[in-house]
Each structure stands twice: as structure tokens, then as C-alpha cells.
């Protein structure tokens, strides 16, 4: 239970994820437990190979744990089949990727309307909602533009609009600023914060970007598949803050 007496939106209990790579068994996550309350903006941070993307995949129902339990919005994801998970993601999750991954043959509006194809809405309503989502992310004037005519920051905004168009419970972003310059990265982080503040969305993000600390409610640090707690987490946070300070003084390297 969170402070309001409500069950957290995300509950992860003793989750491990192992997979086989060649002859080796890789321990991507080891006995991770955490809760994330609804309406929070949380960042998973850590070096490459720390397991943060694996954790994000488990939270978003893209992957399944080897052991442990993942419950999101009251649904135990372990129990769902591949197709049931797909249906669940379509209804409850908005996904944002590092490389935008828009369909180049569709306009911004049609890209945003894509997830709505999985609903029973008629075409007019799908397009209307897509336009609304694009206006929210500040691209109301770019509805009919194709991805190749948009900047990287604009493409990521379209991707965010695509993530929110279904009004999901949870927005999941995997390195959303990883392919953007400093100014666009700040704008995207600000936009995610705005979604949290104005629309009460829960946002979970994986990032290397120390600037993210200024926008999130909570940063969870992982290393070698383990969720850091106590002093270890504090030291990791300080290291990132130091890097963030370096960013603000000298700009990104």
C-alpha cells in the first residue's frame, strides 16, 4: 500500500530473469522487489548490462520473469499468454523507444492512430484522438508530416503521442533521450513530466541521462541485475548527480 492506502500500480516481488546466451546463463535480474505508485515518474538508472531494460520489459509485459511475480494495475502478468499480454499492453501501456521507430510510410497522425486500430473506434474517432494527442505534445501543426520531414525531437514527440493516444495507465520509455541532442532531450523529459503532472500518468523510464534526475520523482539504481538500496543506491545517485553537474557546467561530452 502506498501513502494514500491504495495498492501500488506496479508491484514486483522477488523477480529474477535469466536467459541463455550461447553456452552461458546470463543473470539479467536477481531477486528484485519494488513498488511504484500510480502517478509517479520513476527512472531506472545504471550502467549498461545492469538489468534496467530487462526490468522495464518485465514491467511493460514485453518479457516474463524466470521467477517471481510482476503485477501491474492489478493484473498478474505471469499468468498471461503471449497474445493476452499483447492485448493487455494495447490497453494499459504506452511505449516510447530510443529510436522513435515511427512507420515512415505513415503521416504523424496515422502513426499516432496506429494503436487505436486495436480498438473498436471508427476511423474518424481514431484520427480525432490522434490529433488531440499530437496537440498535447505540441505538434498540432505537423499532423500530415511524414517522419522523414520531422526532426529527431519532433519524431520522439510523435512517438510520445502514439504512447498516450490510448490513455494508458502506464507510460514506459526506454532511453527516450538517447538519440537526441541536449535541447531536445530536455524538452522530451519536460514533456514526460508534464504528462505526469497534468494527466496523472505513471511514467517509468530507463535512462543513462543524468539530466533525468531533475524531472523524475524517484530514481532506482541497478547494477549487475541487482536493485541497489541504502548506501549503495545513495552513492550511485551522487555519482549521477556529479555527472549531471558536469553536464550543466560543460555541456554533454
Amino acid at each position: 500500500m502506498d501513502g494514500d492506502g491504495q495498492a501500488p500500480l506496479i508491484q514486483i516481488r522477488h523477480v529474477s530473469r535469466r536467459y541463455v546466451r550461447g553456452v552461458d546463463e546470463v543473470h539479467a535480474l536477481e531477486n528484485v522487489s519494488l513498488d511504484i505508485a500510480a502517478g509517479h515518474f520513476v527512472a531506472f538508472m545504471g550502467p549498461s548490462g545492469s538489468g534496467k531494460s530487462t526490468l522495464l520489459n518485465l514491467v511493460s509485459g514485453i518479457d516474463r520473469p524466470t521467477s517471481g511475480e510482476v503485477v501491474v494495475a492489478g493484473v498478474r502478468l505471469n499468468d498471461l499468454s503471449e497474445d493476452e499480454l499483447a492485448h493487455w499492453r494495447a490497453r494499459h501501456i504506452g511505449l516510447i523507444f530510443q529510436f522513435f521507430n515511427l512507420m515512415p510510410v505513415l503521416s504523424a497522425r496515422d502513426n499516432v492512430a496506429l494503436p487505436l486500430l486495436l480498438t473498436r473506434l471508427d476511423k474518424r474517432e481514431r484520427l480525432r484522438r490522434a490529433e488531440t494527442a499530437l496537440r498535447i505534445v505540441g505538434l498540432g501543426e505537423r499532423l500530415d508530416h511524414y517522419p522523414r520531414t520531422l526532426s529527431g525531437g519532433e519524431q520522439q514527440r510523435v512517438a510520445i503521442a502514439r504512447a498516450i493516444v490510448t490513455d494508458p495507465d502506464l507510460i514506459v520509455a526506454d532511453e527516450p533521450t538517447g538519440d537526441l541532442d541536449a535541447r531536445n532531450a530536455e524538452e522530451i523529459l519536460s514533456l514526460l513530466r508534464q504528462l505526469k503532472n497534468e494527466f496523472a500518468k505513471t511514467v517509468v523510464m530507463v535512462t543513462h541521462d543524468p539530466r533525468a534526475l531533475r524531472f523524475v520523482d524517484q530514481a532506482l539504481h541497478l547494477d549487475k541485475g541487482i536493485l541497489l538500496e541504502g548506501e549503495a543506491a545513495q552513492r550511485a545517485g551522487e555519482a549521477i548527480m556529479l555527472a549531471a553537474h558536469g553536464h550543466s557546467v560543460s555541456g554533454p561530452s
Binding site: 514485453i62 497474445d83 493487455w88 521507430n101
Partner: protein, 391 residues
């Protein structure tokens, strides 16, 4: 109807690489057109035979083969068979026109007073027929052959027989007004006299007897009776309808058609492989987008369905164009057949409704076969594996 909403997505993906879509569609279109064109051949040949032949005419020839003769006297027996309206003995003259130096058109010695009775459908000119009967050296020549050599009525020609030891000077007295009868008829008595003039016994044989039945329903009975008449003689006969007789000539052509159909099937299979390869390439280069679609909730069924639909829609549109191309081409042939005698028989190749249906189903089949493997390959992978492979 829910599938309809994906048509926009399918159409957009087909337009992604227009050149590749056009080339793949073009390959399918031509393959379907080729198959449809060849599918018209059996029906076309049958129709061609129907136009060439009469349902009342019977060919009587030596059971051992058409190169073996029958006694000429047998012709009279045939004429007496109940139901026979007329019968004419025809004997291969094998005459080579001197300018050509070889046999370039069929020519027969015929009974001049019997041909009209057997070939009323040729609508021989009565005056020309009378001249044919009047002049011993008279000859009637098929319209195409007249045109080919620039002959006209009144011309004199010499044919050197490759069968008989004679050369005959002939006077063209008439034209056989049929595009399907390129032969030359000469007077049987004229050949008979020429042989006797060389001290030979004369023309006591008939190479073939053509019979016209008074009633098409009596044809089978007449054939049985005629063959019974010759049973246990030195020259037993084998009677068959005119259509059957000519279809035997086309027999080797039908074998050729079978071979062509097999080759066409293989070509269609090649097109399936080409289309499948194209579909595989299209799926491979979109693996990132497919990963995202799966991640945002597109199920395996939808991914599979939309990818397969792309292949099927492209193939079906191309197939319809292919069928249209065949209809246009055969229509053009029919128009050409009216203009040129040499193209005449090609006018028989008509695209019928069954051919259209087969063409459309072939294109559907090509699309499904080409699309099913890459589509299933893309759809079946778990989303996390797809994401790992791509990002």
C-alpha cells in the same frame, strides 16, 4: 469487417517501395497472363476444330493408316450405305508447285461430280463447279493458297507429283471459298488418264473417302456399317468423324500444350519463389517496425494477417491485371484474325469465365504461398526476442 481498418496500413506498406512492388506485381501479372493464355488453348483447339469440321462428315481410311489406300470400288459401296448423302474419293497427289520445288499445300485427285455433295458448307460457286466438271485439267484451289501464290482463275500451273510418275498441267477454274481449306483439288479422271498414258494400270485406288451423312444422328451408325463392309477384306477401314480425324493431327500439338502447361506451372512456381523472396526482404527490412507494432499490442494474428494480406493484395491485383491483359491480348488476336488469314485460327482462343476464375485463384494462391512463410516467421517470434534482435 474489422479487418477492413487495416487496409490503409496494408496499402501504405505496399507503397513503401514502389519500384519493388511494381516489379513483383509485374512478374505475377505476366505469369498469370501466360497461364491464362495457355489455359485457353485446349478450349481454343476444340473450338478451332468445331469451326474447321462438320458434324456430318466422316473420314473413311485404311485401318492400317492414312498412307495406305483402299480399292476405289469401295467408294461405290459406301455411297449405298443407308443414311449416306454423298461420298467422294480423294487420293493424295503430292504435287510440288514448280516454283516452290516441294509440296507446299495439300493437293488431291477428287471425283469432280461428288465434292459439292460432301462439302456443301464450302459454298462452291456453281459456275466454277461446272467448269471444274467440264475441264479435265481443271483445278479448284483454296483461297489462302490462291492468295499465297497470287493465282487467279484462268491461270495455268504445273504440279510435279512426288507420289505418281507424272507432271500435270492444270487450269485453275475455281476457288474453294474457305480459309480453312488451303488444298487444291484436281480431276481424278485426269490423273487416271495420265497414268494410263504411261502404260500404267490407272488410278484404281482411293486414299481416303469423305462421306457426308444426311443426318448427324446417323453418323455413328454409318461409321459402323462402313467398317463392317470392309471387315476381313484386304483393306479394312477405320471410320471417324471429321473432328476426330483432325484432332488426331492436332494430337501432337495437344501433347505440346501439355508440356507447355507443365512449363507454365513451373514458371508460376518460380514466380511464387520470387514473390516469397520479395516478401521476405520486405519483412526483414521492417523488422524494427514490426517489433514496435508487437510491443504496442499488435497480436501475432494481426501481424501475420496484415503481412499475408500485403502479399495477397499485391498478387491479386497483379493477377487481375494479368487476366485483363489476357482478355485484351486475345481480343486483339480476334481482331487480327479478321484482318489476316494467317492469324485466323488464333481467333479461337477466347478467355472464358472458368479461365478468369482460374487466373484469379492462381494469383490468390501465389500471394498466399509467397506470403505465408515470411509472415508466419515474423509473427511467431516473441516480442522480446524481436526487440532484442532489432535494438
Amino acid at each position: 469487417m474489422t479487418a477492413v481498418k487495416y487496409l490503409g496500413l496494408i496499402g501504405a506498406n505496399l507503397g513503401r517501395n514502389k519500384l519493388r512492388t511494381a516489379l513483383t506485381g509485374g512478374a505475377v501479372m505476366l505469369a498469370v497472363a501466360l497461364v491464362c493464355m495457355l489455359l485457353t488453348m485446349p478450349a481454343g483447339l476444340d473450338m478451332l476444330l468445331d469451326t474447321l469440321t462438320s458434324n456430318t462428315r466422316i473420314s473413311v481410311h485404311n485401318k492400317a493408316g492414312i498412307v495406305y489406300a483402299m480399292p476405289y470400288a469401295f467408294t461405290r459401296k459406301v455411297r449405298q450405305v443407308d443414311g449416306v448423302a454423298a461420298a467422294v474419293a480423294m487420293t493424295w497427289f503430292g504435287g510440288a508447285f514448280e516454283e516452290a520445288g516441294r509440296v507446299t499445300f495439300p493437293n488431291f485427285a477428287v471425283e469432280v461430280d461428288q465434292v459439292e455433295g460432301v462439302y456443301p458448307d464450302y459454298r462452291l460457286d456453281p459456275q466454277q463447279l461446272a467448269d471444274f466438271q467440264r475441264y479435265r485439267d481443271g483445278a479448284m484451289v483454296g483461297r489462302q493458297t490462291m492468295k499465297k501464290y497470287g493465282w487467279k482463275i484462268g491461270d495455268r500451273i504445273t504440279l510435279r507429283s512426288t507420289v505418281w510418275p507424272v507432271n500435270l498441267d492444270l487450269r485453275i477454274v475455281g476457288e474453294i471459298p474457305s480459309d480453312n481449306a488451303p488444298m487444291l483439288w484436281l480431276n481424278r479422271d485426269y490423273l487416271d488418264e495420265a497414268l494410263k498414258a504411261q502404260g500404267r494400270p490407272g488410278l484404281g485406288i482411293a486414299g481416303m473417302i469423305w462421306v457426308r451423312a444426311a443426318d448427324p444422328n446417323r453418323v455413328n451408325a454409318i461409321m459402323r456399317t462402313v467398317d463392317d463392309l470392309s471387315r476381313n477384306s484386304e483393306a479394312e477401314t477405320a471410320s471417324e468423324t471429321e473432328k476426330s480425324f483432325f484432332s488426331n493431327f492436332f494430337g501432337s500439338l495437344q501433347g505440346f500444350v501439355t508440356v507447355v502447361l507443365i512449363v507454365t506451372g513451373l514458371v508460376a512456381l518460380c514466380i511464387v519463389f520470387i514473390a516469397a523472396n520479395t516478401a521476405s526482404m520486405a519483412v526483414r527490412e521492417r523488422s524494427g517496425e514490426l517489433a514496435v507494432l508487437k510491443a504496442i499490442g499488435f497480436t501475432r494474428r494481426i501481424i501475420f494477417g496484415t503481412l499475408l494480406a500485403e502479399a495477397v493484395v499485391l498478387s491479386t491485383i497483379a493477377g487481375l491485371l494479368g487476366v485483363g491483359l489476357t482478355i485484351g491480348f486475345t481480343s486483339l488476336l480476334r481482331v487480327g484474325a479478321g484482318w489476316s488469314d494467317t492469324l485466323g485460327p488464333l481467333g479461337s482462343f477466347v478467355v472464358t469465365a472458368p479461365v478468369i476464375v482460374q487466373g484469379v485463384f492462381l494469383s490468390l494462391f501465389v500471394g498466399m504461398l509467397a506470403g505465408v512463410v515470411p509472415s508466419w516467421g515474423a509473427a511467431r517470434k516473441p516480442v522480446v526476442q524481436t526487440l532484442h534482435e532489432v535494438f
